[in-house]
């Protein structure tokens, strides 16, 4: 380490106030710095640990020495070695009276211990004491420790002291006390819920730093519950205004910006408060517009504030002027050379695009540049933007790009994310089945093991059900193209397991369906798969089941089945497999192949993966058998409740098995075997001969039937086995469900269409814009332009696909719904805007802040009344006519230049001041009043109430409309999703060997065995 040669510098530094270190420590750091390898470093550190262990327990260590040991311990821990032997010494050090040692002790314990550590209990008492200390630095050190070390249980121990510190004369302490409370709120909101008013109170602290500190907890509180802080909008706006107008002391400036961090926090808060609230937003327009104009865009921090403005504008009720200003800033960001600003620009674009979809077109080339930028962060952000702006017209380009990128990266976390986005977009906007299948193949091929298993199930479902249009030829085309593409891919080495499962399933189900490929060809491929991936049991299981299906379909079609030799050997292998599941499957296959066509058609109907399976739980088909047995003299079945205690044992075992078949795991405690227990298990109609004997395999007597009359005793046994009955009625395809369900579904579909039409007005005007992409920049690389055109243009295609897209979105994932809703909301809100203008008076102009009706509205239901009480009489209602400066000017109080402060104050404050409080204003700081609002003018109140009533009505109407939009959609959406769960269920159980007997499909085999 070259710099170590300048060791003299350290020696000089070592003598700086109180931070002196010994030669040993310097040597340690030096030798670690010079270590050539990690192993060498570890050796040095371990030696150091040994030394410290020895030294630290020596008696009578000088305090200064002890301090150094502790610092060395901290250092050792930072390097990743355990220093827990010294924790107790650090704890002890916090008890010391000297400030240096105390602070070192606190530093060490905050770094060493977590809030649940056993040693904390030894510190709490010290913290309590230190919080009451006269020395504010001790208090600060204790507060620092409080943040890190106090957990939910110990909060009450220090809470009173911390609350008391909110009134500490030093602003540094007040600030830290607020932040400590904020921390408590994070850890356990309930513990400080009664103290939340303190945050509001501190908002009017006369130190701007303390006020700034309260914004952090308020931001969190508002994020959780917006409505109860609406009354603060005006206060926040007035604070922001004063900050932006440089009324804070110069010391709060940062790079010539007035308190930018406070501005940023305030803008974040306003964004929350104004979101979806027109009235609140109107208060903000002026100040946000001002900041847009004033902000210095040459400094980093200025751009940070501008970016926050964009976020705010995108979040609050839209205002055209502000949107324009935001778009200008975004343009500036995107054109800048700085990657940071480009990043912010792309992010801002993603936020604004929801409100004004045409904005992206202006920047299309910049966006494409970002997409091709070597900076990974920027690239990802751009993909996020593209994801947000995907439509059916550009889905192909975007998803192709995403997949290319996905292939190029190694980061599994991001790969997973981008893969799931590709899948989502493909499901929502796929222009054709062919494309969809190919895209999914690519995703699976390159990220197969990373995608969620649900995606695979979804894909299988989609291939099985088709795209929803009642067009059988399209569905079978989809299947054939899937089969073809899979047969093409299957030869490639090292395919992900999940993908192979899909391939096997599809080949088994549809491989021979269109007659293009012979059964022997398909089975050959399946055998190859099972062989090539011989250590993946799941794939093998899928392959064997697929083989069984192919053979079954062959037999059912009346063709002669010749099992391939390799298939035969595979089956033989598997019937001796260690996996019972594979064994089971192999035996099943052999059994199926031995059946005749009629039986096969019965147990393995072709293309029936979507059929619902009904279970006859009353086992009525056994009645004949029971009757016969009874005639032969067998004992009749005694329902469980009527049996005597002697039988309980066998009875119990029986019960156990049933439960096992439905749960696998029992969560409730075992019952005691006491006499007649009313059992959950309904009396099964068992033959008397089996009744007393605990039969290990329920499959021998629990026979099921595929096409049974709907069992009448449904309600009773529903607990017992697969709960399919409720599911299928609700979610089954229309053809399989009861007539009631199907009508409700069709009506909901109609509703979707109906809404589509009403919503038209909103959607239509956005569409033509899509085609308006500028053709000015002719000199740009034609390649890029082509890309731009395909990303941003192509309106005609959109129209064509619009309806299917909607449908797909509905049947797609929940995200689709969200998107739909967002776009509808946007449409509605723009509509809303228009109506608003006609009904109510025009919204106030940007610059017109002081509309009396609005200001007084806040006073109307003002929870600040309490606050006023707290703030005693110094709260001054300003006169109405004071216009823009009517909010009392706290910031001039801050500024500490009484001459100007008093002058401006005088005008607005004096008229309302009582004698006592006027004194206070002119003297030192009073509890200042950024929170005051207009006077309670009665008539303006009434006016306001009227306006609000109208607005309310309007809102009601729109929310009703929105409801109508949302509801059918939701219903529609849930359908495929829960169906998928239902649908995959039988297939999944097919795979899980443990409860294979749940699957009635396989169970049809049982009778032959008896």
């Amino acid at each position: 380490m070259e710099q170590l040669k300048t060791i003299g510098r350290e020696l000089a530094m070592g003598s700086q106030g109180g931070f002196g270190q010994s030669k040993e420590f310097l040597d340690l750091v030096k030798s670690i710095g010079e270590a050539r390898s990690k192993a060498e470093e570890d050796r040095i550190v371990l030696r150091e640990i040994e030394t410290l262990k020895r030294r630290i327990i020596e008696p009578d260590i000088p305090k200064r020495k002890m301090k150094e040991y502790i610092i060395r311990l901290v250092y050792v821990e930072m390097l990743g070695h355990d220093a827990s032997f010294g924790y107790i010494h650090a704890v002890k050090m916090t008890h010391d009276d000297s400030l240096v040692l105390k602070r070192t002790g606190y530093l060490a314990v905050t770094l060493f211990l977590n809030e649940d550590h056993d040693l904390i209990i030894l510190i709490v008492n010290t913290i309590q004491k230190d919080l009451k200390s006269d020395n504010y630095l001790v208090v600060c050190a204790a507060l620092n420790a409080v943040c890190k070390l106090i957990n939910e249980e110990t909060i009450p121990a220090v809470l009173p002291q911390v609350v008391e510190l909110l009134g500490h004369p030093k602003e540094a302490v007040r600030k830290k006390a607020i932040m400590a409370l904020h921390r408590f709120y994070h850890k356990s909101p309930s513990s400080v819920s009664h103290l939340i008013s303190n945050f509001r109170k501190r908002l009017c602290d006369n130190d701007p730093g303390v006020m700034g500190a309260t914004l952090c907890p308020l931001f969190d509180l508002i994020a959780v519950d917006v409505t109860s802080y609406k009354d603060l909008v005006i206060s926040f706006v007035s604070i922001l205004k004063q900050v932006a107008e440089r009324r804070l002391p110069k010391t709060y400036d940062y790079h010539q910006m007035p308190a930018p961090f406070i501005q940023i926090k305030l803008l974040k808060i306003l964004a929350l408060l104004g979101s979806g609230d027109k009235q609140a937003s109107e208060h903000m327009y002026t100040v946000v517009g001002d900041i847009f104009r004033k902000c210095d865009s040459s400094s980093n921090i200025g751009n940070a504030v501008l970016y926050e403005c964009i976020c705010c504008v995108a979040s609050i009720y839209p205002n055209p002027k502000l949107l324009e200003a935001a778009a200008d800033v975004i343009a500036r960001f995107l054109k800048s050379d700085s990657h940071n600003l480009k990043y912010m620009g792309i992010d801002g674009l993603g936020r604004l695009i929801k409100l004004s979809p045409d904005i992206a077109e202006q920047h299309q080339l910049a966006v494409i540049d970002c997409l091709e930028d070597p900076d990974d962060t920027l690239k990802r952000k751009t993909f996020e933007l593209l994801y947000k702006m995907t439509k059916s017209s550009n889905v192909e380009v975007i998803v192709d790009r995403m997949i290319d990128y996905m292939i190029s990266i190694n980061d599994n976390h991001y790969k997973t994310e981008i893969a799931s986005r590709c899948v989502e977009l493909a499901e929502q906007f796929a222009p054709s089945n062919q494309w969809f299948i190919l895209t999914m193949n690519k995703v699976f091929e390159h990220a197969g093991d990373l995608v969620n298993i649900k995606v695979a199930h979804n894909l299988m479902r989609l291939i099985a059900e088709g795209f929803g249009e009642d067009d059988d030829t399209a569905d079978s085309q989809l299947r054939s193209s899937a089969v073809e593409s899979y047969l093409h891919i299957i030869g490639e080495p090292k395919l992900p397991s999940l993908f192979l499962q899909v391939i096997c399933w599809v080949l088994g189900e549809y491989g021979t369906a269109d007659g293009k490929f012979s059964a022997s060809y398909i089975t050959g491929k399946l055998c190859d798969v099972a062989e090539a991936y011989s250590n993946d049991e799941t794939v093998k299981a899928y392959a064997v089941t697929a083989l069984m299906k192919v053979y079954a379909f062959e037999i059912a079609a009346g063709r002669k089945v010749d099992m391939l030799p390799e298939c035969q050997s595979l089956i033989e292998d598997l019937s001796a497999s260690h996996s019972t599941d594979l064994q089971q499957r192999a035996y099943e296959l052999q059994a199926v192949v031995g059946l005749d066509a009629h039986a096969i058609e019965y147990i393995m109907p072709s293309d029936a993966s979507c059929e619902d399976i009904e279970i006859d739980k009353s086992l009525s088909f056994l009645n004949g058998y029971v009757q016969k047995s009874l005639e032969k003299g067998a004992q009749p079945y005694i329902p469980e409740g009527q049996r005597s205690g002697i039988l309980n044992l066998s009875n119990f075992r029986n019960q156990d098995q049933h439960e096992a078949s439905s749960h696998g795991l029992r969560f409730e405690a075992y019952e005691l075997p006491k006499a007649p227990v009313p059992s959950k298990i309904p009396p099964t109609l068992l033959a008397s001969s089996t009744e007393l004997v605990p039969v290990p395999e329920p499959s021998y007597y629990v026979e099921t039937q595929q096409v049974a009359s709907v069992s009448s005793s449904d309600a009773g046994p529903s607990e017992l086995k697969l709960r399919l009955d409720g599911v299928q009625k609700k979610w089954g395809r229309q053809t399989y469900s009861s007539p009631a369900a199907s009508t409700s579904q069709s009506s909901s579909q109609k509703a979707v269409n109906g809404v589509k039409q009403t919503e038209g007005s909103g959607a239509v005007n956005s569409r033509p814009r899509e085609s308006l992409y500028d053709s000015k920049k002719q000199e740009i690389d034609p390649e890029k332009q082509k890309l731009a055109a395909s990303l941003f243009g192509g309106s005609s295609k959109t129209e064509r696909r619009a309806s299917t897209a909607g449908l797909k979105a509905a049947r797609g994932s929940s995200h689709g719904l969200e998107k739909n809703l967002v776009s509808m909301e946007a449409a509605l809100s723009s509509h809303d805007n228009a109506v608003e203008k006609t009904i109510v008076q025009p919204p106030p102009d940007l610059l017109d802040l002081g509309e009396p009706a609005v200001t007084s509205s806040a006073a109307l239901e003002d929870p600040f009344k309490q606050l006023e009480g707290l703030l005693d009489s110094s709260q001054v209602p300003p006169t109405v006519n004071s216009g823009a400066t009517k909010a009392p000017d706290i910031m001039t109080l801050y500024s500490g230049t009484p001459a100007t402060g008093q002058n401006t104050d005088g005008d607005s404050l004096l008229p309302g001041l009582s004698n006592s409080s006027s004194d206070a204003v002119h003297g030192t700081n009073t509890k200042s009043t950024p929170l005051s609002k207009g006077p309670n003018l009665k008539d303006s109140l009434e006016k306001d109430a009227l306006v609000r009533q109208m607005e309310w009505l309007e809102q009601e109407v729109y929310s009703m409309m929105a409801d109508r939009v949302a509801r059918p959609n939701r219903g529609h959406m849930e359908h495929p999703l829960s169906r998928s769960a239902h649908y995959t269920a039988p297939r999944v159980t097919e795979l899980s060997g443990d409860d294979w007997f749940c699957d009635p499909c396989l169970h049809a085999l049982a009778p032959n065995d008896i």
């Binding site: 109180g18 670690i32 400030l99 943040c147 500190a213 990043y343």
Partner: protein, 165 residues
């Protein structure tokens, strides 16, 4: 909220690591390593932001700045502004610079506890406490002064260069 502040050198050695939510020692080391792995592979003229979801869990961003032989890294969530965090790093470094007159890696190595003192005056319990380096300096100097006063032994060591004892 800010989740972590890390200073490490260009060889990946941590110089300061402060996590505002408790993490086990192993996890801390793992995070430092993985952050370094990403940082050292980034080119010069790229943005200072990183998506930190993969190491710090959902909703984490990372801002870093490269000074001479050191990386300064702040990790935070969506309630902070990336550009502002970049400036906070600037504040931190500026303060250190004032503190040590032309700060270099060595100052940071040898004044480990002072580094923490400075950081604690800027970030408190995961929230931004102070952004003016002059104010931070004032607070730090006050602490130094009082510490010196409170500890007579320290006073002795100050005059007779303490390391020799």
């Amino acid at each position: 909220m800010i989740k972590a502040a890390i200073v490490m050198n260009t060889q990946g050695k941590p110089r300061l690591a402060k996590f505002y939510e408790f993490l086990s020692l192993e996890k801390q080391q793992e995070l430092i390593r993985s952050v370094f792995g990403v940082l050292c592979s980034r080119a010069e003229n790229v943005s200072n932001f990183l998506d930190a979801d993969s190491f710090f869990g959902p909703d984490s961003r990372l801002v870093y700045k490269h000074f001479a032989t050191l990386y300064f890294v702040f990790v935070f969530d969506s309630s902070e502004n990336e550009l502002a965090m970049l400036d906070l790093i600037q504040v931190f470094v500026e303060t250190l610079d004032k503190c040590f007159r032309n700060v270099c890696e060595l100052d940071i190595v040898f004044n480990y506890s002072k580094l923490h003192t400075v950081l604690d005056e800027i970030i408190f319990g995961g929230q931004v406490l102070e952004t003016s380096s002059a104010e931070v300096m004032k607070a730090v100097e006050e602490i130094s002064k009082q510490e010196a006063a409170s500890n007579s032994i320290a006073l002795v060591s100050k005059t007779v260069s303490g390391w020799r004892r």
